[in-house]
């Protein structure tokens, strides 16, 4: 398959994608690095000279820094946990013989099509509003006091909203994987006397390993940068400020580009740590 001619053609055909992505990565990255060493306040005098590492120390010593890192990790971890567990359950359920499987599948996929701004608005106002939200009615109906979801239980609320959006994705991938499981394997295990639980634990679950890896990889990529869900619901208040959101506030709301850029560098480092960590697992489990 590989001659000198086809190899050079291959390099040529790969080049545009690589060059574009390299540019997309490097140009803003270098600019961000440059700004991070500057006192740069666009609305209050602009470029006020070099700042050394001051932005870096200020950003990391600010009281919001570590909580924002924790918030980011809790949201990513929480959503991953919920979607994977519920996804496995749903995939098994949907794989059973039933009437109207196609329609149920359509219903389950639907949240994936809903844009994050819409789902955040709908959940915030029509479900989680303490006065008129549907959940408030439900609580009152059972004689409980309605909860102020987005202020008193902000993190669980946001994790719920995001999980609702990503559950379809996890379910579909896991369902596809389950359907590819050779039923003879399960029958052989049954002949060998394995109970339903054991069959699940020793055959189905290991078979899902690769699918679970894909779910975790893809979701992490998207979850690390969730924005609209927080922007629309709490605006970063009530302990829901992720690292991304904190930087967003520094750059856009306080217009401190230098400080925000230093935060950006931290975020890039955090993303890289997660990326390296993920690639390790994925590299093992995914023959890409």
């Amino acid at each position: 398959m590989a001659t000198q001619h086809s190899r050079s053609a291959a390099r040529l055909m790969l080049a545009p994608a690589v060059i574009l992505l390299l540019g997309w990565m490097l140009v803003p990255l270098i600019m961000t690095l440059y700004f991070s060493f500057k006192n740069y306040l666009p609305l209050r005098g602009g470029d006020l000279g070099w700042a050394g590492f001051e932005n870096y120390t200020r950003f990391v010593t600010s009281s919001s820094f570590w909580p924002s890192v924790a918030t980011t990790l809790i949201i990513v971890g929480g959503v991953l946990f919920i979607t994977v567990i519920l996804g496995i359950f749903l995939a098994i359920l949907l794989n059973q013989p039933m009437w109207g499987q196609g329609i149920v599948r359509i219903l389950v996929i639907a949240p994936f099509f809903v844009m994050p701004t819409v789902s955040a608005l709908v959940w915030k106002n029509m479900f989680m509003d303490p006065n008129y939200g549907l959940l408030a009615y439900l609580w009152e109906f059972f004689g409980a006091t309605p909860v102020e979801w987005l202020s008193k239980a902000s993190m669980p609320s946001i994790i719920t909203i995001v999980s609702w959006q990503w559950l379809p994705f996890a379910t579909l991938i896991l369902l596809t994987a389950i359907q590819s499981l050779d039923s003879e394997q399960l029958e052989a295990a049954e002949m060998d006397g394995a109970s339903a639980t054991k069959r699940f634990a020793y055959i189905t679950l290991p078979h899902l390993g690769r699918a679970i890896t894909v779910v975790i990889l893809i979701q992490t990529i998207f979850l690390l940068s969730i924005f609209a869900e927080i922007f629309v619901t709490t605006g970063g208040a009530f302990g829901t400020k992720t690292l991304s959101y904190l930087i967003f506030q520094r750059v856009l709301e306080s217009q401190n580009v230098g400080l925000g850029s230093a935060g950006g560098v931290y975020a890039i480092i955090l993303a890289n740590i997660v990326a390296v960590f993920l690639m390790r697992i994925v590299g093992k489990n995914l023959d890409a």
Binding site: L14, L93, R105, M115, L121, W123, I173, V214, F227, A288
Partner: protein, 276 residues
């Protein structure tokens, strides 16, 4: 599962699956229903499920308040344009990696994917500045480029996994038959990969359609797509549930319908080609 299932078992399965399916779908259903209520009925206590006076009033008000068609058009151009541009750039790249793999192929693929993990906020200001310098802030072309770039790794990855399933011998046969590289890609590879390419396009249209960071931060009035249209309902208008619902329904309907009509390709696309 060639084994017969008892009818009781099937009934229980069906009931459970429908209950879960409807529960997951409920927020969307509720939004659509509410969009046809009056504002008073929308917040009625107890909530009204179906027995309300159906009205199109909300849609009319929303249409009058903002130029829905303009936002819709921007969404279509941005989502469609970025996906098409991405596919045009990704097909040759995926061809290279799938059929002329080298020792570095896997690393390049992983690196591409890792660029997606770079936090957008980290580079928001530089991009913002660049866009002003280039005069493409709040323009369709600017967003087409940015969304193409952020989805390119996913497009390349998906096409790569689809291409890998095409036996190399078929491409070699084309080469023996006198096809040039270009003819090989156009006449053999692309038609054979049509289902995969369709899935890739669909999924990326959806991702681009729903992208809400760059579209919100890099547009103002001119090029704003539906994400911005709906963001304007944040508050305090968000408390007018019926109008919020109408606007929401209008924002998600195109993609919901597209998604349902192309369910089969989409399911395969949603797995990112990584799970069979």
């Amino acid at each position: 599962m060639a084994r017969a299932v008892t009818p009781q078992r099937k009934i229980i399965n069906t009931a459970a699956a429908w209950a879960v399916g409807l529960a997951i779908f409920f927020p969307i259903l509720w939004t659509i229903l509410t969009s046809f209520k009056t504002e008073a009925q929308a917040i009625a206590d107890p909530p009204i499920f179906l027995g309300f006076d159906w009205t199109l009033e909300n849609y009319k008000v929303v249409m009058e308040r903002s130029d829905y068609a303009k936002y819709l058009w921007n969404s279509i151009i941005i989502a469609g344009g970025s996906t098409l541009l991405g596919v045009i750039i990704a097909v040759p790249a995926a061809w290279s990696m799938a059929f002329v793999p080298s020792r570095r192929t896997k690393d390049i693929l992983m690196w591409m994917l890792s660029t997606k993990m770079l936090p957008a906020v980290g580079v928001l200001y530089p991009i913002y500045l660049l866009f002003i310098k280039l005069g493409i802030l709040d323009s369709q072309i600017g967003l087409v480029i940015v969304l193409m770039l952020i989805n390119l790794p996913i497009i390349v990855w998906m096409l790569y996994t689809y291409f890998k399933e095409i036996p190399g011998e078929i491409l070699e046969a084309a080469r023996m038959d006198g096809a040039t590289l270009k003819e090989e890609v156009i006449y053999i590879l692309t038609p054979m990969a049509v289902p995969g390419i369709a899935s890739t396009i669909l999924l990326n249209v959806i991702l681009a359609w729903n992208e809400a960071f760059w579209t919100l931060n890099l547009t103002a009035a001119k090029a704003a797509p539906l994400t911005a249209f709906i963001a304007s309902y944040s508050s305090p208008e968000g408390l007018f549930y019926a109008k919020l619902s109408a606007a929401s329904t209008m924002a998600i309907a195109p993609i919901l319908i597209l998604g349902w009509f192309s369910q089969k390709q989409l399911v395969s696309g949603l797995t990112f080609g990584a799970v069979k």
